[in-house]
């Protein structure tokens, strides 16, 4: 059965018919609050998925749960990435297994330089892009490498946050609100970066308030409502269905 699956959907498989990434009945809590309520979905290798939903649908919490943050803490379910059991790992182990979270508030480390932020990402194996390569893609970061990172503009900080993730070897990139609070010209630049990510074939989950922007670059979409998956399909299906957009996305 697994073999048959693998033959039908070779792009979705890697090890013995298992999807490249899958989460099954994932539940997590912030303190006593039940936030992620039995979320399940699969992702194929190289796929870009838009994780959508209204405010408070549990998108950020889902990403943080997948990255194995301490809060919200995982209480049930399984998370598999390329045959590795993320659900039994801590955040730093998940990161070493190839999960990279770019948090919504960017979380650039203040008090140290741009370059030091990148060096931090390369402290432990497995490393991704060389710092020189990163400066080629983001010349502006190269120009400001000795500058304190928290003095960068919002857009530059977002670039640095993405660059910092690229400095690690990534199997699954979790992007939380990459366009949040950015001027339209900066959004264009980040979109170019997203194109690079797409071309490099990095499997990605992108959470974005601006659903249309996310759907433009995504292959498929997962819609969350009240901490549960209510839709799993292609990005085009969401773009085509007014019902879905009205009911769950308000766009």
């Amino acid at each position: 059965m697994a073999m048959a699956d693998a033959m039908e959907r070779p792009e979705a498989t890697r090890t013995g018919g298992r999807p490249f990434f899958s989460c099954r009945n994932v539940e997590s809590y912030y303190g006593e609050s039940y936030i992620v309520q039995g979320v399940s979905f699969d992702i194929a290798e190289n796929e870009i998925v838009a994780l959508l939903g209204r405010n408070g649908a549990g998108k950020t919490s889902t990403l943080r749960t997948l990255a194995r943050a301490q809060e919200p803490h995982l209480t049930a379910g399984e998370i598999w990435l390329d045959g590795q059991a993320l659900h039994s790992m801590k955040a730093y182990q998940a990161a070493r297994a190839g999960v990279q979270l770019v948090p919504e508030d960017r979380r650039i480390i203040p008090g140290i330089t741009v370059e030091e932020n990148l060096i931090l990402a390369q402290t432990v194996e497995p490393r991704g892009w060389e710092i020189a390569q990163i400066y080629e893609l983001f010349p502006r970061l190269g120009e400001r490498k000795r500058q304190e990172a928290n003095t960068l503009s919002g857009g530059e900080q977002q670039m640095l946050a993405i660059a910092r993730a690229l400095a690690r070897q990534i199997k699954l990139l979790l992007l939380d609100e990459p366009y949040e609070g950015l001027a339209p010209t900066i959004v264009e630049e980040i979109e170019k970066t997203m194109e690079v990510i797409r071309r490099s074939g990095i499997t990605t989950i992108i959470v974005e308030q601006n659903a249309l922007a996310a759907l433009r670059i995504a292959d498929s979409a997962v819609i969350l409502d009240m901490g549960e998956v209510v839709f799993r399909g292609t990005a085009q299906q969401v773009l085509d269905s007014e019902d879905l957009r009205e009911q769950y996305l308000a766009v």
Partner: protein, 314 residues
């Protein structure tokens, strides 16, 4: 003021500051990185002086210089893994209670093993004797003559001044320790990780760094510095179970005055407090309150302390 008396008071201020700096350095390092208030830090000093006096009496002093900081490092790591990591997210009051309790346990334990009285701490031969400071360059002998301690030239004094050599050693050790720790934190990858971990430990975990392990090393380092303080400060501060608590309070004030988590702040505040104590020594009642007076004034003017960083534990 008599220049010789002034010079002696400066030396005494530096020496007092050196002890406070060594204790405060460990405190501020642990507080700065982990946000953890370690009231057991004085107890680590007590363990260090008893370990030092025991090793020095049974083997030799040089061995104590190596063994005691290493022992304290191990104790610090065990202390972090076994106890304090469970209290990182708890309120400071819980942290103070648990470490204060531990300090009392250690104090009583030492009393039980070694007794409550001062144990004489014999200085090694190379460290005893008096240092002579001459005002006349040509008077400084090339080879130490006066009780075998080295001599130095100090232009602004009159004639010569003598001072216990060991106290100068303590000042030097303190400066080297501060410089070493500063270099470790400022110029190494480990230091970068620790400094970044102070700001955002979770983000470091997302970058694959096992920050908990680094924090255990930080507590080990803080304890090892208390070990260094114990070996070099023990012969000066007395060897009694109560000395840890007596040193903890002014050292904690040094941390607060310098700015929580600031190493350079701790050093400068330690020298400031040392000098204030030294220069107020002649006015008997003033010396008891001078430390607190300085703390009040500094905190009124700069609530964050002299070098406290914005956003760190506010």
């Amino acid at each position: 003021m008599d220049p010789n008396a002034l010079f002696l008071q400066l030396l005494t201020g530096l020496q007092l500051g050196a002890i406070y700096a060594l204790i405060a350095l460990g405190l501020t390092l642990i507080f700065g990185t982990l946000g953890f208030v370690n009231f057991a830090h004085g107890a680590l000093y007590v363990i260090a002086i008893y370990a030092a006096v025991t090793v020095a009496a049974n083997t030799n002093f040089l061995l104590a210089i190596i063994l005691v900081p290493a022992l304290l490092f191990a104790i610090g790591v065990a202390f972090e893994r076994g106890l304090i990591r469970h209290f990182y997210t708890r309120p400071h009051t819980d942290q103070i209670l648990i470490t204060f309790g531990l300090a009392i346990v250690v104090e009583e334990l030492m009393k039980w093993i070694f007794g409550a009285n001062n144990i004489p701490f014999t200085l090694p031969e190379w460290g005893s004797g008096l240092m002579v400071f001459y005002s006349d360059w040509s008077a400084v002998p090339a080879v130490p003559v006066f009780q075998e301690a080295p001599s130095l030239w100090v232009p602004f004094i009159e004639g010569f001044v003598t001072y216990q050599f060991w106290r100068v050693v303590l000042i030097a050790v303190s400066l080297v320790t501060v410089a070493g720790l500063f270099a470790l934190l400022q110029f190494t990858r480990f230091g970068l990780v620790v400094r970044a971990g102070m700001r955002d430990p979770e983000m470091l975990r997302f970058l694959g760094i096992n920050i908990a392990q680094k924090f255990a090393i930080v507590v080990g380092l803080g304890a090892a510095i208390a070990g260094i303080a114990g070996v070099f400060g023990g012969p000066i501060t007395q060897v009694t179970p109560g000395v840890g608590m007596a040193l903890l309070v002014p050292s904690f004030l040094v941390v607060v005055i310098g700015g929580m988590g600031s190493l350079s702040g701790a050093l400068i505040a330690a020298i400031l407090i040392g000098m204030a104590l030294s220069f107020s020594a002649e006015i008997a009642n003033l010396q008891q309150i001078v430390v607190y007076l300085i703390a009040v004034v500094v905190l009124l003017v700069r609530p964050r302390g002299l070098f406290g960083k914005k956003g760190v534990f506010e």
